[in-house]
Amino acid sequence: MGGFNTALFFDMKSNRETINLYSLTFRVPIIFWQLLFFVGPVLFMVAMSFFLVKNYRMTEAFEFINWTKMFSKNYFWDSYWFTLIIAFISTLLTMVIAFPASFTLAFRVSENFRRWAIFLLIIPFFTSYLVRTFSWYVILAEKGVINALLSYINLGPFIMLNTHIGTLVGYMTLTLPLVIILQTVTMANIDKNLIEAAFNLGCKPYLIIQRVIIPLSKTGFIIAAVFCFILSFGDFVAPFYLGGSQEPTLPILILDTTKSGQQWPRAAVVAIVMMVTLFAIAFIGIMTAYSKSFKNDKR
């Protein structure tokens, strides 16, 4: 980056604080837009969790009945813990499965190859998750592609649909490309000399991974894990179509209460519980990510 004069270096630019028609033109529109279509909806949803439903019609009120009803239901708590645990397992599994691939992309291939790989990995992230899930449905089915292939070697059929395996495969369809990208970018940014030095000092490969690579990429890894958790925790497609939804996750609970039961306020309760959980996890994740890397810096 050329052109860093001293004035900029010390952030000495008074025109950065000007307020005039020009600056407001760029600043203000999105504030209104987000208030109207983001803050408004979310706050209204919070308010809605206190509304009443009578004769299938929602009336504005301030009652805690939706909260007490939901919190007293066993199926809510079952669903809560199930979602938490399966999202956690999905995160762990995705991180572990992604690691060797990211490791290879970060250290064992040329920079050009890595760029192309990331180019490819971005594509599925932005292409229809729904169609990909449906495709898995066909592939994993009892008479689907995998079991058909296995039958040639006299194995199977394995039941994969409507099991946790189905749910996890669906989650990974969503999260794996993103996690590999984040892990790869994090590890590719590690100073290669450090690894070289550790290797020359006689460090065993697995020790290099454990003592050098993982500590140095902790921040990036935790961020990848947090994203992975958020995506799995909030997804309804995989557990619904591939997991069979006998054990409903929280998103499915929202879906059912909204779409069939007309119980929007109770769905709002579930949604708020989900949001609070996610914020707590994201917060803890980010705090540990940065505190740990700080400790490493001090060492």
């Binding site: 760029f26 949803m45 594509i123 599925p124």
Partner: protein, 265 residues
Amino acid sequence: MTKDKFYNLILKFYLFFIFVFIFTPIAFSIIFSFNSQRFPTIPLGNFSIEWYIKIFNDAEIWQAAINSVVVSSITCLIATFLGFCTAYSDYRYRFKFKGIYLALVLLPPTIPLIILALAMLAWLSKIGMSGQLWSIICAHSVLTAPFAMAIIRLRLNQMDPDLEAASWNLGGSEWDTMRNVILPYCRPAIISSLCLTAAVSFDEFAISWFVSGLNKTVPVIILEIVQGNIDPQVNAIGTFVFFTSITLVITAQIFFLTWQMKGKK
């Protein structure tokens, strides 16, 4: 040395396997769309364009396709406009509560779609806006503006900070400078952003499903078909959807990478 080569081979094989896992559903969706079987499996049935003919003659799907195109093209314009404004405000100015301002813009994609969908549904019916294409567009632009912001902000980061002042110095007002310097400089990023936000909007199903009412988009149709029985029509529609979004994403990436390279020079 040979041991290292052995590890290398295993790792690369593993990487290949992961890529197969990621691209298998896309590949099979395309393959099955040309397959005559009602329940597609291996061995494949005959080559057939039956499903394509079926969707081609389906007025509802046509309407959904038109809706999708309308929604994603208006969404990408609004989102890119909003994203550009925010990126520029962040780049150029310092102001009170800037942290909150940026959080307000960047937060939506971190909230699960199902929650956004529920909130949007409730709010839009409250303010009397639900069930229209506009409802989807508004919701999608909130969801996609952060992507636009991120891409354009990255571009502005590469800009020589003196460029803007150089234009003022040569007699350009702030508005002249926006038109003659900032916008031309950001053009590749703006094109990238248009494509990417259009792709996200084109594929989004949860919010669309909740707020669309009778104005269904393509992903909503897919969702509804999938809820019924296995119907290979989905593969045919899916193939179209894939090609649309892959084209958009690749175009975005090409523009993105081109200016990344140029920035390095």
